[in-house]
Symmetry: C3
Subunit: 141 residues, 3 copies
């Protein structure tokens, strides 16, 4: 049984920037030499989310539009009123979607679908440097 | 420390079909002989979700109605316009709810509540064969 | 490789009571003596959620207001009609947000952001005793 941990460092544009991090996660799974196990993918911070999506411009646009209805990017938030911030919507989107997900590793590869990519969403209202911690567990090859 | 992985194969009706997979997950936990640990339950694909629900017709109906408001099953999606598909809403529901969840294993059993069942939601717009990968980790009995 | 499991027992007020459980989770991570790994945090029951939030009154208020729109706390639920309950909204919120999350452990500590706290949400319509199961895995120090 092995534990392997690495980080992905990214620059985002903020404003619900949706990035495909499947290849980076896959490289860490390969480097871990785990054959059967699981991989935890965790975005650090309270204005990001980790999920999966068919990564094509239509689905990304649909996700952004839905989040604009659930948690509009306006100033009408108690968080903004309290702290003089403008990213209350970003905190809300992160809490609703979750910042970490765990996926299976099967035969040394990420056990997700062909049209299913792992995404990092950065909801914050400005470009940021982001860190995603990837932890792989399981039986070695 | 042991790793154990198995698959559940299901036929779904699509259209937000909600299936109770608790018994199948429980059987894999038992087969793993893990006493203390955790179990990852992951639906493969970008139009499914894994979550928990009190599995009774009222809660299932309430979940469907809420998702019909959050992501209506109409053709008004950029994904549909781009690809000639009709399942843009299904991709959106999957990204918002998440396709994988991890639960504790306590004294050799699934550590969830009495009225809490593990569900697979298939949002796609047609019947499908689905695969759920179940990975159990922990100290053996 | 070590597995360590403990429970957090809490009293909640219900009605979307949002509690910061970061310190308790952190104490269990420390007690586990895991240096590199992950920690699963799982609320038992079908009317709770586990997520992360910047734990300050503004963000808590914003989360409550958003959930009041997504799943209003009224009696208009099939679950209520069927069982004479009043907590249909609570089941729905739990299914949408999820009852369990898994985070990394890095250098013996919870690998989350400075402004990111782990929260238990109790959506039920009355005060309750709640149990959160915390499972830590990984390489020892």
């Amino acid at each position: 049984m092995a534990t392997f941990q690495d980080k992905i460092e990214l620059r985002t544009k903020g404003h619900t920037d949706v990035l495909d991090i499947t290849a980076e996660v896959g490289r860490i799974v390969t480097a871990s030499k785990v054959r059967t196990g699981m991989v935890n993918v965790s975005g650090t911070g309270s204005t990001v989310a980790i999920s999966t999506l068919e990564y094509e411009p239509g689905c990304i646009s649909d996700l952004r539009r839905a989040l604009d209805l659930i948690a509009p990017a306006n100033s009408n938030y108690a968080h903004n009123a309290r702290w003089g911030d403008d990213n209350g919507y970003a905190h809300l989107r992160s809490a609703l979607m979750g910042t970490a997900k765990t996926f299976p590793v099967c035969e040394g590869r990420l056990g997700i679908g062909t049209w299913q990519q792992i995404i990092l969403c950065d909801f914050d209202d400005r470009p940021r440097g982001r860190e995603v911690i990837v932890t792989v567990f399981g039986d070695p090859q």
